[in-house]
Symmetry: C2
C-alpha cells in the first residue's frame, strides 16, 4: 500500500516534516560541534530523544543524514543572498547591502558549522563539497560579478576581471575575523562590529587604501551620518 503523501497533509504522526526537521536540528548541533567523523548517532539521539531507528528510517545512514544537513544549510544560506530591489541603487549602496548579507550569512551558526564540518570530509564527499561551494560562496561570487558587470555596462567602473574582483570581495568577508569565529577563538561580531567590517571592506574595494579616508569617503555617508 503506497499512498502519495505530497498533497494531503494528514498529520497522522507528529508530522513527518517536523520529525525530520527535529532530527536535522539535533544533528546540526552535534555534527557542527564535533565534526562528522567524531559524531556518533548515539550522541544525536541523546539530544533528540527517541531512537536510532527513526534516524535510519528517515535518512538511511550517517552519510545520508550529513549530506542532507549540509545540503539544507547551504540552500538556506543561498536564499538569503538574493539581491532584491537593489538594482536601482548606486553601486556603493548595493555593495554595502550585499556585504551586510554576506557577512551575516558567513557568521550564521549554520554556515559556520557547515564550514567547520565539511573541510576534512571534502575528500570523502566530493559532490557535497562541490554543492556547498557552488550554492554558497560560488553563487555569491557569481551574483556579485553580475552586479559589477552591470555597473561596468553603465560606465560606473572600468573593470576587466569582474569575476576575479568579485572573488576578492567575497574573500574580504572570510578574513581573519571570520577565521577566528570559525575556530571558536572569538564570538561573532556584534552588529556595530559587523557594520564597521562591511563599511571598511566596501571602502577598500571601491577606492583602495589610497582612496579611503581621502575622497568623498563612503564612511561619512553610511555610519553615524
Amino acid at each position: 500500500m503506497e499512498l502519495q503523501m505530497a498533497t494531503a497533509t494528514h498529520a497522522r504522526r507528529p508530522s513527518k516534516n517536523a520529525r525530520r526537521a527535529a532530527i536535522l536540528e539535533a544533528a546540526a548541533q552535534v555534527f557542527f560541534e564535533q565534526g562528522y567523523a567524531a559524531t556518533s548517532i548515539d550522541a544525536i539521539i541523546k539530544r533528540l530523544g527517541g531512537s536510532k531507528r527513526t534516524i535510519y528510517n528517515e535518512f538511511g545512514s550517517k552519510e545520508g543524514l550529513f549530506t542532507a544537513l549540509v545540503s539544507e544549510n547551504a540552500g538556506t544560506a543561498l536564499s538569503a543572498l538574493a539581491v532584491d530591489g537593489l538594482e536601482g541603487r548606486s553601486l556603493s549602496e548595493v555593495l554595502l547591502e550585499f556585504g551586510r548579507r554576506l557577512l551575516a550569512i558567513y557568521m550564521s551558526p549554520g554556515l559556520i558549522g557547515v564550514y567547520r564540518s565539511i573541510m576534512p570530509e571534502a575528500g570523502r564527499f566530493p559532490e557535497l563539497a562541490r554543492e556547498f561551494f557552488e550554492k554558497g560562496p560560488g553563487r555569491a561570487s557569481d551574483r556579485l560579478a553580475e552586479v559589477l558587470e552591470e555597473a561596468r555596462d553603465r560606465g560606473e567602473i572600468e573593470l576587466e576581471d569582474c569575476r576575479g574582483a568579485a572573488d576578492h570581495f567575497v574573500g574580504m568577508f572570510r578574513d581573519n575575523l571570520h577565521l577566528q569565529v570559525v575556530l571558536g577563538l572569538r564570538p561573532p561580531p556584534s552588529p556595530p562590529e559587523a557594520e564597521a567590517a562591511v563599511t571598511s571592506a566596501v571602502g577598500i574595494f571601491l577606492h583602495g587604501i589610497y582612496g579611503v579616508d581621502r575622497e568623498g569617503r563612503a564612511k561619512g555617508q553610511m555610519s553615524n551620518g
Copy 2:
C-alpha cells in the same frame, strides 16, 4: 642511570630527529587527507612502516602527535613570511611580494592540510587553534599592519584602521580560489594564475575597483585632492 642527551648528538639509532621527522611526515599525509578523527594510528603506520610503539614512545598519544604536527606546520609557514629587505621598496612592491609569499603559503600542502584538519577539532584543541591562528594568519596580519603603518608614517597613505585593512588584505588571499583548493575542487593555481591573483588583489587593495584599469594598474586620477 639517566644520561643527559641534550648536548651530545650520539646518533646511535637512525637519529631520533630523523625518526621523528619521518613520523610527522607520514602523519601529515594521513591527518591532512582524512582529518584527525578519521585517522587511525594504523593508517599512519601503514605509510610509515615500523610499529605503533615508536609513535607512542615519541608522541605519547594520538593527540600529542596531531598537536606536534599542527604546531610544526604553523611554525614553518610563519618563517616564510619574514619581510626581509623589503622595507626600502615602494608600498606596492612590498604588497606584491608580501602577497606572493602569502599566497604561496596558503596554497602549500602543509597549510592546506592544517586548514582542513584543524577546523572541526578547534573545539577539542582550543590552544592548538589559537596557536595556529596566531602563528599563521594572525601574524601575517600583524606584519602587514606594521608595513601599512610605516607607509602611513611616511605619508604614502592615509589610513586609519591599518589593522582592519591588513585583515581584509589577508582575507583577499583566502578567497574562493583558496576555498576551492581546500575543498579539493581544483588544483592549486599555476604560477601565472597565482601571479595574476596577487596582482589583482594588490591592485584592488591599493586603488579599489574605481582606480583599477588594466592589469591592476592605477588610473591615477583620483587621489591628491
